[in-house]
Amino acid sequence: MDPTQRQLDLLAFLLQSRGRVSKSAIFDAFSDEYSASADAAERKLARDKTVLEELGVPIQWHPADDDDGEGYRIDRSAFYLPDIPLTPDERAALHAVAAVALDTAFPLRTELSFALAKLRARSPADPRPSRPFVYARAAGAGEVEDCIARALADRRRLRIRYSDDREDRDVDPWAFTARRGRFAMVGFCHRRDAVRTFYADRIRVCAPANPAASGPEFEVPADFDSSVHLPAHSWQLRVHAPVEVDLEFAPDLAESGSRALGLEPGSPCPATYVEGLVAEVLALGPGATIRSPDSARALLVRRLAPLARRLQEAP
């Protein structure tokens, strides 16, 4: 018999049994399948049980007590998907974002498909949401993203070729995240001996560093916070000690300018990467200027000077 069929039969048998099922009852019920020596039958049953447990089937062994003899039992409440009290809006939003993920080759595609199929099977009705939920993505993900996500789930070290690097580097993927639609991995770079952020669209080659390794290859530090390495604004990157930068906005930008930089109106910017702040200020147009410190103003001028010279010439 196909081992998969036998494992499903065993599962059905355990699920339908009212009480505990002893090993001898299993061997009797499947006499053709567990017919070899006692030892071989035991080993075969143990293997089948492991396969089912890897799928999350909660098979428990109970010793004999006053109520029942010894045997296996499946906790049905831990086996079957319970009702998840999603609101119609939550359900619609979840299905909509998953549909976009599947359309754009999001990592862990099969897992995502199974999760959706299970949710649909548990609650087939499709109640009408209060409003539409729309998600869109310009570019699809690819093999690199899937490779990162799998390595992240299994805690496997990756060997990548990044951007214009001429050599590979080994990275322990600690987090997978996205910034304005761009996927990024934050991980421990063994070449730099430090935590670094790698945008997936700049990774040219990505594969497990040790294909033969089995089991996790690293631990993610408990206090690791990926948001520090991929903040909302480039001035928040932790490149140097905080520098308090005073900004000045034209009247029509008084509120919007600060907010666009992630600041409360009127408050200074505690930049840990002034160069990033310079670029963000420039993008706001002539209505935004750096008031102090002098070093930040000088940096802005220094950054623009070569560009100004080039713009005097023909392209």
Partner: protein
């Protein structure tokens, strides 16, 4: 892990939930080939429990390529989500739509659906699929969501990068849409035109008392797709933006068609909606990009650069 066994456990409840589902649709839902599914559908009628009489077996029929489950034999309900299945859903929500409060609520509830034995693994995975910090101020996002659900007008102070200026507008909010991880408000403006406003460019949002009648239906998905495909839009004017060698790799990642230059830099053809937007975009590269063509755009950049340098030099004096 036995992937086929995993799929077989989903086939029966998925088919049972939609009697008569086509083989093709079921295969699509389960991310497998039609051939793999047909093999599963051939195997399942042999599955059951001792003594394996007809009533003890799964009864699943395929008629005219449509699937019907008559007897499910304890496989009628789906199994709990594995840690990776739940994490994949949560990751899609967190990475594709960061800051979406509805999805946030849904992800919190997913934890209840995970197999108890895998809950710790799910929590660990969830930490690794990290949600980026929200771009939009929380108070703005809250007001936007409130105005949408209450059908009330919304007054927003909006910084339009196409104008490099901020001004107040009163809009009738329809819904939010997330495009490439950025949340937009879809709304009708004072002139009755449908517009998309980025939430992170709304400095202030105030829900007004005034309600508005239901808005006519519109294809919001199409509007979101238009925003997502702005880069490839053929109707917009285009400029050649030249990136310095230091910015070339990032530019190539951002602009798929960018071409390499002999000095290590890159040229990209960039679609733009207004000159101020183009100048602002180029300056956001912090001096590592310039406009090569057309000449009026290059001139506008030169003026902006001179103005910025003068403003900061003047302050120095």
């Amino acid at each position: 892990m036995n992937e086929r066994l995993r799929r077989l456990l989903v086939v029966v409840p998925a088919a049972r939930a939609r009697p008569g589902i086509s083989v093709q649709e079921l295969a699509r839902q389960l991310d497998c080939s039609v051939q793999e599914l047909r093999q599963d559908l051939d195997l399942l009628p042999l599955v059951g429990s001792p003594p394996f009489c007809p009533d003890d077996l799964v009864e699943i029929d395929v008629q005219n390529d449509r699937v019907y489950v008559r007897l499910a034999q304890s496989f009628e309900r789906p199994t709990r989500l594995s840690a990776t299945e739940a994490a994949a859903l949560a990751a899609a929500a967190r990475l594709l739509a960061p800051g979406d409060p509805v999805l946030h609520g849904a992800v919190e509830k997913l934890a209840r659906a995970v197999s108890p034995a895998q809950k710790a693994l799910y929590e660990a995975l969830l930490r690794r699929f990290a949600e980026a910090p929200a771009d939009a101020p929380e108070d703005v996002a809250r007001s936007v969501d409130r105005a949408i659900s209450l059908h009330r007008e919304l007054e927003i102070l909006y910084f339009a990068r196409t104008e490099l200026a901020a001004r107040a507008r009163v809009v009738q909010p329809r819904a939010t849409a997330t495009v490439d991880g950025v949340r937009y408000l879809s709304a009708r403006n004072e002139a009755g035109a449908e517009r998309m406003y980025r939430l992170d460019r709304i400095a202030r949002a105030t829900v007004r008392e005034r309600r508005f009648p239901p808005l006519p239906e519109t294809d919001l998905s199409e509007a979101a797709r238009r925003v997502a495909s702005l880069e490839s839009c053929t109707e917009l004017p285009r400029a050649t933006v030249r990136f310095a060698p230091a910015a070339a790799a990032a530019a190539r990642a951002r602009h798929a068609g960018a071409t390499a230059l002999p000095d290590g830099g890159a040229d990209a053809s960039v679609a733009y909606t207004s000159l101020p937007w183009l100048v602002s975009y180029v300056l956001s590269w912090g001096g590592e990009a310039e406009i090569a063509a057309p000449e009026p755009a290059r001139r506008a950049l030169r003026e902006a650069v001179e103005r910025a340098m003068a403003a900061h030099r003047k302050d120095e004096e």
